[in-house]
Homo-oligomer: 416 residues x 2
Amino acid sequence: MKANLNPAKGMRDITPYEKEIRDYVEGVIVNTYKQSGFELFETPVVENIENLTGSEGGENLMLIFKILKRGDKLDLKKEGLTEEDLSDLGLRYDLTVPLSRFYCNNRANLTPVFKALQVGNVFRAERAQKGRYRSFKQCDIDIIGDGTQAAELELIATTAKALTALNVTDFVVRFNDRRVLKAVILNCGFTEEEFDGVCIVVDKLDKIGINGIKSEMEDKGYNKTAVEKLIEALKEINKKGTNCLNEYGVPKEVISDINKVLEESNTYADGKYDVIFDFTLIRGMGYYTGSIFEIAYKDLGYSIAGGGRYDEMVGNFIGEKIPAIGFSIGFERLVNQLMEENFKVPDLEKVVLLYEPADRYIDVLAKAENIRKDGYTVSVYEKAKKLGKQLNQFQAFGYKKFAVYNSDETELKELS
Amino acid sequence: MKANLNPAKGMRDITPYEKEIRDYVEGVIVNTYKQSGFELFETPVVENIENLTGSEGGENLMLIFKILKRGDKLDLKKEGLTEEDLSDLGLRYDLTVPLSRFYCNNRANLTPVFKALQVGNVFRAERAQKGRYRSFKQCDIDIIGDGTQAAELELIATTAKALTALNVTDFVVRFNDRRVLKAVILNCGFTEEEFDGVCIVVDKLDKIGINGIKSEMEDKGYNKTAVEKLIEALKEINKKGTNCLNEYGVPKEVISDINKVLEESNTYADGKYDVIFDFTLIRGMGYYTGSIFEIAYKDLGYSIAGGGRYDEMVGNFIGEKIPAIGFSIGFERLVNQLMEENFKVPDLEKVVLLYEPADRYIDVLAKAENIRKDGYTVSVYEKAKKLGKQLNQFQAFGYKKFAVYNSDETELKELS
């Protein structure tokens, strides 16, 4: 067989060197979350297709990897065959849809307010692009069953703590609310139907600037007066923050909710990071109903974490109203950034123990066990003819010490 | 939407309680392997379909979850549509095929002899059955590039160490060699073509006994003399072990290889477990070329770990001869068994901190952080009206202590 050695397009092999860094980063995040009382659970990467296609995942619904039916269920002879006929399962595109299903399915075995922690890969059939993968890891915390601002405060504080534990400190939490966006945009004269389209343009402010937004909206044929009013609103809200929101018909209680989160989060952060109101923060998912937030790190053009309140979604599964809110760390982006900054995992004491073919292998293994008792990681390999070259290789692989097996005389030496 | 709350058929949600046990077990195994110098790496759960369908996975090739092509590549109008036309990717059915591809693809960045450690889920579209899942975890160690018995000895010693670290001790390692099976079966008068079929029957010895085997083989129309000779061989090999193998045309060097592994493994095990020769051990995978082995635990009717030598497979990817051998722990079976034995994870000190809506939430969070500094896991929840009932619930969820927030007077109390 002439084989293709590459992983599937847009997916990746993770070598031991990179895996060590990833596992360390994941460990720090997960331990921080667990210590804060978030409970780790797991759902399969495969979900029933209706739960995926029937969800409010916005553009992600176009990117689902669908799994072919099997056996008798797969009827290739059917007239006018569609994708729906062919597929009964799919790979999850996020962790929020599975969490919602999981919560409804397992409520009896969960704390009444469920503080959820889920880590796992999600899959999106995106166009291949540098730094964008078709299989990537997310670390999510969610609070289900708490509709108060306590949930916003705890998610922001805990996500910030996890990043800080990795020495990622130079970040800003951007905060907005879908209800603010809705009120202001309608107040400017746009219709309900235009809301999503207007959001998509406003989302580009970072990239095309305020004039770019104006001309794009005019090109798209939106009402001129509405566009001008929105441009003014963008400028004024940018200047005055939440203080002017009442002028745009944002309900008082929404403004007071936002102000509470901003004030208390900043008090709690105590200058270590800022939580700022940002009216131009949009976030694409259709399921957000209230607060939305992202973490911007240094001057990266993308966020390293994002989330929001989705009070409708969980309840939809069972016809109840259940408040829910989540914050997701984009693990791949975070790790890539840390690796570019030359992030180092705290040293492992790795030792290589070399033996000759004439040595009895179980004696060599017993010696290795002995060295491990002192806390070392010990790998056993046959001694090469060119010892110097071999030792250089092991040093390059991160080994710190070596020994050549010689029964009781075996001696640990520094690699250098 | 009227939703189906269940996970996909044959797959499972893992609740926090079970997840804690699973993660602990996985942690012990992985740490044991890493400390022994095995290197953790990762491959995607999705592979190019040819790498799966073109592999020697035996019956597993019938169980592949195939992924539908996307966009223009999916042509539903084609005449005489087949599964091959519809699918370009699939979910891996084991970790060995991805390891082989990974090794060939990343050789330059790996130690010359690669001691591989991979943990991950694999997927098989099996008929649903108690204790058998369509998505399940495997923990594999493999040694690539070492054709000597050192590899057998190390894999057996290290897998046994991982189990022992979990207090799983009452196990036996069954050991056989595909070359022995081949030699004996041909020596009895069966043909090359009959070999696989004969193995499938012999594999049932545990279940149907020696007479069952005899009658099943006769029913299937095998040559009577050959069947009788094989039955005699089974009896004699069972009695005399490897000592009589030369009578059945097994090459001397094969017998000496086996004896070396048996003797040295048992010396090393020092009575803690036995490594026994078992001619009726078959193992289904088509890719095994030499040693095969399994771990039988107590009187369970199935093995909790299994593996063997597959010297052809890795090299097939790149047209070289590369020796390889692996040992895989069946994680689901092991965990199920441990849970049935009431396995307990070493205690976590979980504390619940309760607050009233009138408390400032960031003060409560700060207090929780303070308690965490003493090493506790602290969850924060709103105090319920019925405090006694609430505390009982948290106790049932494994919490050991509680406190009701009261600024500096907050006091930690035992739950009981």
